[in-house]
Symmetry: C2
């Protein structure tokens, strides 16, 4: 298998990106193609022991940064690491593309300039697995701020295929995120999507609230990209603020400080259970190729995990399954 | 001052509702009118020492329950405690209405049958103060699942008046919730609302993400009721799941158990800082009267805090200020 890793993706590229690629090459034994500034990648590689690893460099002269406007940059930087990397997948020289770069940039380069949409897919979407014990997945997580009912139906189809193939969940339970679990709750989009889901032949279980979502009441929850983005960012922000508050309270007295010290392994375990790095990245579903998007703050381990996810998508042929599964 | 407390509101009514009314009558010295089933209220009052407290009962023969469909029940149960209670406010026999009942029911009874909308207000909305250290407020929290830009502008105006009057924040910082803090981020509704906020004369500071919201970057954040509801429920669910996970990890070994025991005061303090009961309730802004809606799970303390909030709204004449402040 040949996996492309965008060396210019993460906030502190190319250090974690290259280090992650090395971890992946060592663990999986695959060919890893690092795309980006050749000199910087080579300098980074020189810091590591890479003997026997199948690491390759492909030069790209431009970088789409975190602050670039996606559609503009995707047009004005045709030799970006994203263009070069996804074209390798498009041309069959590689099997998947992994990047921790600007999400909007990856979307624009994938959809408008390289891999393009799968025939019949109205809107490609980002699926995200939440780092909660129940590992619930939500789609869309931010690719499409405004959605139509037909899009959400397709998100359910694509996400269902992904979960069956990559996470071996047969007949995944599908829900729609709403402002209440009672029947009749929801905004216009939710109300218009429900009949489509009911008639879809998917394992649709109804509308759920964030509480049920978190507890794993469904394997896959569909929502528009605006709400999905608010959902994951609210969860991240709440966890971070709560831990900050707890830390401050624990530091408040000698007794609680000692308690915090003794309980540290529990805190560490909880933090690890909730660590998004464990999951690695979000699959972009609905384009003609495997694309996994990591967090901008990804470390080497997260990049390696994103490669793991990309490998699974390739091995299980998720793209062909979506190509076959989308009813046009 | 005369405050109506819906005795039939909370999930376990009338116990916490009546107990909360007693706490409020004792602490504030006001007249409290308990509305609902006369016999059940009297039986509940008999369990307490109420000597010298200005507690009154007003009978209502019907109850709008948590599972009732709001608009249907508001029509078919004209003698509900909500109707009777809000009519007391409408007729000038009381100054404010407090209920921990079915939110949709309170909205429907207020808007369609009793207090009605303030002239010029397109949609009344629910304001909620988050139980975070920075006490950020969001509006709308669920009254209006589908919104137009003009509604959000009015939410900003009403919320701004509320914060100035009740929480003494002069010129409150107003933001709009979005899927990114960069300019140009947002769904259609956000993008169309921003120019209205910019031209409003309010202290508009821009679009913010959940992270900045939690940290108190703005005093008031406007959003549609669907997203606002997902925001608060996601925060609640995340905090609850995280604490559950931490507890399980702490119970995992003798060392961490001891640590947890020693750190317990810190956990308790954190839990109290995040306790929604401290805040008591959400003001329903935009109707001709003070209405405070508590959580269905409210305990007596939360009901008392909701009465405190109602008193502030009355004392600071929030309703007249909104009547004067809404540009029609």
């Amino acid at each position: 298998m040949k996996i492309v890793v965008d060396a210019m993706g993460s906030d502190t590229h190319p250090t974690p990106d290259v280090a992650g690629a090395i971890l992946a090459a060592r663990e999986f034994g695959d060919d890893i193609i690092l795309v980006g500034d050749e000199q910087r990648i080579a300098a980074e590689l020189a810091q590591h022991d890479t003997v026997g690893l199948k690491l390759h460099i492909r030069h790209a002269s431009q970088v789409i940064t975190m602050t670039d406007k996606p559609s503009e940059a995707s047009r004005s930087k045709p030799d970006s690491s994203m263009h070069v990397g996804m074209n390798l997948v498009k041309n069959g020289e590689a099997d998947a593309f992994v990047s921790a770069g600007n999400t909007g940039g990856i979307l624009a380069v994938a959809m408008l300039h390289t891999l393009r949409r799968i025939r019949g897919v109205k809107r490609p979407a980002l699926g995200v697995v939440f780092p909660m014990p129940s590992k619930p997945m939500v789609i869309d997580n931010g690719a499409n701020a405004d959605c139509k009912p037909e899009y959400l139906l397709q998100f359910a189809v694509m996400g269902s295929i992904y979960l069956e193939r990559v996470r071996s969940i047969s007949n995944p339970r599908i829900a729609i995120l709403s402002n209440g679990e009672e029947e009749g709750k929801g905004n216009q989009l939710v109300k218009e999507t429900i009949p489509l889901l009911e008639a879809s032949g998917l394992n649709y279980i109804g509308n759920i609230e964030p509480k049920e979502f978190m507890r794993g009441a469904a394997d896959l929850t569909v929502t528009d990209g605006f709400t999905g983005n608010v959902l994951i960012k609210t969860a991240e922000a709440t966890a971070s603020e709560l831990l900050k508050l707890l830390r401050a309270e624990i530091m408040g007295s000698t007794r609680t400080k000692l308690g915090g010290l003794l309980a540290k392994p529990a805190f560490d375990a909880a933090r690890m259970a909730l660590d998004p790095d464990e999951i690695g990245g979000a699959p972009l579903l609905g384009v003609n190729g495997v694309v996994i998007i990591g967090h901008g703050r990804s470390n080497a381990y997260a990049i390696k995990q994103a490669v793991r996810q990309a490998r699974l998508c390739v091995a299980e042929d998720v793209v062909s399954a979506i190509q076959a599964g989308i009813v046009t």
